[in-house]
Symmetry: C2
Subunit: 157 residues, 2 copies
DNA sequence: CATTTTATATAGCCCGGCTATGTATAGTGG
DNA sequence: CCACTATACATAGCCGGGCTATATAAAATG
C-alpha cells in the first residue's frame, strides 16, 4: 500500500531536517553546512559566476557573496576576473578546498557510521538509490540551468 | 557494485543539505525549519520536558528554550508546570500547533510536487523506504531516550 | 540546614539567510 | 560619442537559529 507522493514529500523534508541536526551534532565541525554545500556545488560545477552559484545553491546572490568571501579567506575558493565582462567574478574551488571538502565528508561519515553500522545490506542499497534519485532531482531543478533539460515548475509561457 | 557505507553517508548528508535549500526555496514559508522540526518532535513525543525536547531535537537546551518561547507566542505550544518538580516545564503541542504543522507539510509537499511528479512508482517506493529507514535511525539514536533500546554510539562503560 | 546537583532561563556572541540598495560595467538608441 | 537602461556583484542592515557561559531556583543529600 504505497503512501501517496504528497505525504512522502512532507515526510522527506521532515526527516531531512532531523537528520541535519543529527549530522551537525555528530561531526561537530567548526564550519557550517553552508560552507560544505557551497564547496560541493563549486566542485561539481567548476568555475562559475556568482549569480549562477547562488541559484544552483538555492540561496540569494548576497548570501552567495558572503559565502564565497568566507571561502576565499579560508583559501578554499578563488575569484577569477572574467576577461570578457569586468562585472562578473568567476569563482572556482581550490585544491585546498577540494581537500577540505573530502575531509569533511570523511569525518562526517565516520561520525555517523556507528549509527548505521548494523544496517542490513538492502537497506544500504535503498539509501544509495534514494540518494541518487534525490541528487538527480535537486540538480535537474536548478532554475538557472542553461542546459534546460527539464522545466519542472511554472514553465514560463 | 554497492558503494561502501562510508561514502553513502557522506553523500546522504550532502544531498540532504541541498534538499534543505530546495525546500526552503520552494515553500517560502515565513517560519523557519526549526519551528517545524520542534513541532514534529512535540507531536510525536507528547508532553515532554525541555531538556528531553532539546536532546531529541538535537539542539542545546538554551536553543530549545528559545524555540519553545517562540512556539508559545504563536500559540503552537504550551508549558505546563510539573506538579512533582517545580523546576521542570513540560511542553506540549497545542491543537493550533498540530494544525499549523499539518498545513506546513501540506504546503511544502504541494510546492515540491511538480519537481517529483514524474517520478516512477518504484522510485517513489524507494524514497518511502529510505525515509522510514532514516526516521528509524534518527529516533533510535536519541541520546536521552529513556527506553534505551539501542545504544549505538560510545556506549558508556 | 548547608551543600551539591539538576532543570531551566538569560546574556551575548557568530553566522546564514533575507531584502533593499549602491556601484560599476555592458549594452543600446540617437 | 553620449545618455540611459540593464545587468552583475557588493554592501548595509535586519532577523533568527545555533552555540557557550552563566545565573537562578528547586530538589536531593548528608
Amino acid at each position: 500500500m504505497p503512501t501517496d507522493l504528497h505525504t512522502i514529500l512532507g515526510d522527506l523534508v521532515s526527516v531531512n531536517h532531523r537528520l541535519t541536526r543529527v549530522a551537525a551534532h555528530a561531526a561537530n565541525n567548526p564550519e557550517s553546512p553552508a560552507v560544505w554545500r557551497t564547496l560541493s556545488v563549486l566542485l561539481q560545477s567548476g568555475s562559475i559566476r556568482l549569480g549562477a552559484l547562488a541559484s544552483r545553491s538555492r540561496v540569494s546572490q548576497p548570501t552567495a557573496t558572503k559565502l564565497v568571501s568566507h571561502l576565499e579567506l579560508r583559501g578554499w575558493a578563488t575569484r577569477l576576473a572574467d576577461p570578457l565582462d569586468a562585472r562578473v567574478s568567476q569563482t572556482a574551488i581550490t585544491p585546498a578546498g577540494e581537500a577540505a571538502l573530502l575531509d569533511w565528508r570523511s569525518e562526517l561519515a565516520a561520525a555517523l557510521l556507528p549509527m548505521f553500522a548494523d544496517l542490513p545490506a538492502d537497506d544500504v542499497a535503498t539509501l544509495e538509490r534514494a540518494i541518487s534519485i534525490l541528487r538527480d532531482r535537486v540538480e535537474r531543478s536548478d532554475p538557472s540551468d542553461p542546459s534546460g533539460l527539464v522545466v519542472p515548475f511554472g514553465a514560463a509561457s
